[in-house]
């Protein structure tokens, strides 16, 4: 009986893998079970260092260049077999774009119940999960009472915490022969230097208040000053001012940064669905009645074209000093 954490990698281990390891360690402790980890990718090698301090006993590493990128056909049978071999009772993954697909597929193969996109997990004789429903307007508390039980964790919500520097034992595994039905033809990287929205510690988003695509650089410049990813409301995406990959909201991305700066965004429910779990929300809007002020921590009622450039300049001064 043990807990198994699935470590997501993209060449390197992703922060969400260490977040999952943190919360999986807490569940292992609360339930008195051992914690093991599963790595599938090109090579774990010296990254094993970063797995110290989570209470992981063994990390099972399936290293192979052909599986450097995620593949259902390649990854899912490995985890199914490892879970059965270890008798793992709880399996924790990440609720990233690939992680959700991975966890859903593993759950199906194991006949396991799964809660995706959990914002909190615990143990009480079963796997307890806190999860937003209805675009974040309702929060559910559930308990999975059958085993194995699975959950995936929303990125950026759990703080990575290490306790001591105990290193896991590395167990290298041979790759099973699998025939991949799905062929990866191309893995395209986003433009260099851009920060992925769902992983960013700071997000600056622009709404209808930016007026037109010609003013998008105002948002991008503030984002650059803050080391932030640039997001947008649905209105801005639907108007064709920026690509859909920037959209934060119910039909866009869900982000949980340390600081979310909403510029010229009214704060429609569908937008809130994508940013409600941000730790600090800053709103800049010229309309004092805008809904965004009802859910913000800090608000500036003013013209974003005055506030944003000045804020960018002042942040650069602070950063430089």
């Amino acid at each position: 009986m043990s807990v198994l954490v699935l470590l997501e990698q993209r060449g390197e281990l992703k922060p969400c893998a260490l977040e999952a390891a943190t919360i999986a360690g807490q569940i292992a402790k609360a339930s008195g079970m051992a914690l093991n980890a599963c790595y599938i990718g090109q090579s774990l090698s010296d990254q094993a260092e970063s797995l110290k301090g989570f209470g992981i006993e063994k990390v099972y590493a399936y290293e192979n260049a052909s599986l450097s990128h995620y593949s259902n056909d390649g990854y899912v049978p490995i985890v199914r077999d490892l879970v059965n071999e270890l008798g793992a009772k709880v399996i924790i993954g990440s609720s990233s774009a690939l992680g959700k697909e991975f966890c859903a597929s593993v759950a199906a193969r194991l006949g396991a119940e799964l809660v995706q996109d959990a914002i909190g997990l615990g143990w009480d004789g079963g796997l307890k999960a806190t999860k937003p429903l209805y675009a974040g307007k309702v929060i559910s508390e559930t308990k999975i009472t059958t085993f194995p039980a699975m959950a995936s964790v929303r990125p950026n919500v759990i703080s990575i915490e290490r306790n001591g520097d105990g290193a896991p034992e590395l167990v290298k595994r041979d790759m099973p022969q699998v025939s991949l039905r799905t062929v990866l033809k191309e893995a395209a990287q986003a433009t260099a230097g851009t920060i992925e929205l769902t992983e960013a510690k700071v997000v600056v988003s622009g709404g209808r208040g930016i007026g037109g695509p010609e003013n998008w650089p105002v948002i991008e410049d503030l984002a650059k000053a803050l080391g932030a990813a640039a997001g947008a409301s649905r209105a801005v995406v639907d108007a064709g001012w920026v690509h859909h990959s920037h959209q934060v909201g119910q039909t866009g991305k869900v982000v949980s940064p340390d600081i979310y700066v909403a510029c010229g965004i009214s704060g429609a429910i569908q937008h809130q669905a994508g940013m409600r779990t941000s730790k600090i929300i800053v709103a800049i809007n010229k309309d004092p009645e805008a809904n965004i002020f009802k859910i913000c921590d800090y608000g500036i009622v003013g013209d974003l074209f005055e506030v944003c450039p000045l804020l960018a300049a002042e942040v650069r001064k602070v950063r430089a000093s």
Partner: protein, 258 residues
């Protein structure tokens, strides 16, 4: 070719939500219901494929009789027929049970291609279509923003954090659809009228060779609540430079976030 599209009737999330006194259900009397937005894109993609290559498009849903409302919408958009899994035992299923029922339904149709929205916006469970694929041993790809069919091979783009994958999948396959892929059409009035005559078949769990006992949920709902809003709601006063400097001070010194 038969294409199945998995769709779901969900509350419009712009509605005001209230929790019933039992703290285990949402008050539905004031909610407006719609087709889950991603499912509209899935229906559109199937109809585009039908127009280009010829296909029978079957919309498949699980739920009470009211699910037919959104199935009619899909039929008015251009789908050919519907299959609703309904009746005893269907209201208490978890995603695992729903997927088993829908997999059996898809199998009964003999669909070679299955589209679904990347998630339904009520429970955001984000797993039913992937489970259907695994249960039917079909290749699958999620969060797809571009879809092409070359003979028996689907070529898709799927978004990942910080990039995208181009994948080739052999049919039969299950594809979940992301928003940017197309613009769903509005049904025209003549097509809405025509849709009323299109068939929607009904099947129970028993018809599909399943039982409610075998699909018993392994998840207990302990409580529902409205999110707490512990926000500071601090509106900063002063002229613009003063407000900007105060904001930076708050983020840096009070929140230690800068």
């Amino acid at each position: 070719m038969k294409i199945a599209v998995l769709i779901k009737r969900v509350p419009d999330t712009a509605s005001v939500f209230a929790i019933n006194p039992d703290q285990k259900s949402v008050a539905t009397d004031k909610l407006k219901f719609v087709m889950s937005p991603y499912d509209e894109h899935a229906v559109e993609e199937a109809i585009k494929l039908k127009e280009a290559n010829g296909a029978d498009v079957v919309v498949v849903s699980l739920g009470p009789d009211s699910a037919k409302e959104v199935m009619r919408t899909a039929l008015a958009m251009g789908a050919d027929e519907g299959l609703l899994v309904t009746g005893a035992g269907t209201d208490s299923l978890t995603s695992k049970g729903v997927a088993e029922a829908l997999a059996a339904a898809v199998k009964s149709i003999g669909a070679e291609l299955v589209f679904a929205g990347k998630q339904a916006v009520d429970d955001d469970a984000s797993q039913v279509a992937e489970r259907v694929a695994e249960l039917l041993e079909m290749a699958h790809a999620s969060v797809v923003t571009k879809f092409e069919l070359n003979g028996g091979t689907a070529v898709v783009n799927r978004e990942i954090e910080g990039g995208s994958y181009t994948l080739e999948l052999p049919l039969p396959a299950v594809i979940t659809i992301e928003k940017g892929i197309n613009t769903p059409r509005y049904p025209t009035l003549p097509n809405i009228m025509k849709a009323k005559k299109k068939p929607i078949a009904e099947k129970s769990l028993a018809d599909l060779g399943l039982s409610a006992e075998a699909l018993a949920p392994g998840v207990v709902l302990e409580s529902l609540s409205l999110p707490r809003q512990n926000r500071r709601n601090h509106i900063i006063d002063g002229d613009t430079p003063a407000r900007v400097n105060e904001l930076i001070r708050l983020l840096k010194e009070e929140e230690k976030a800068l």
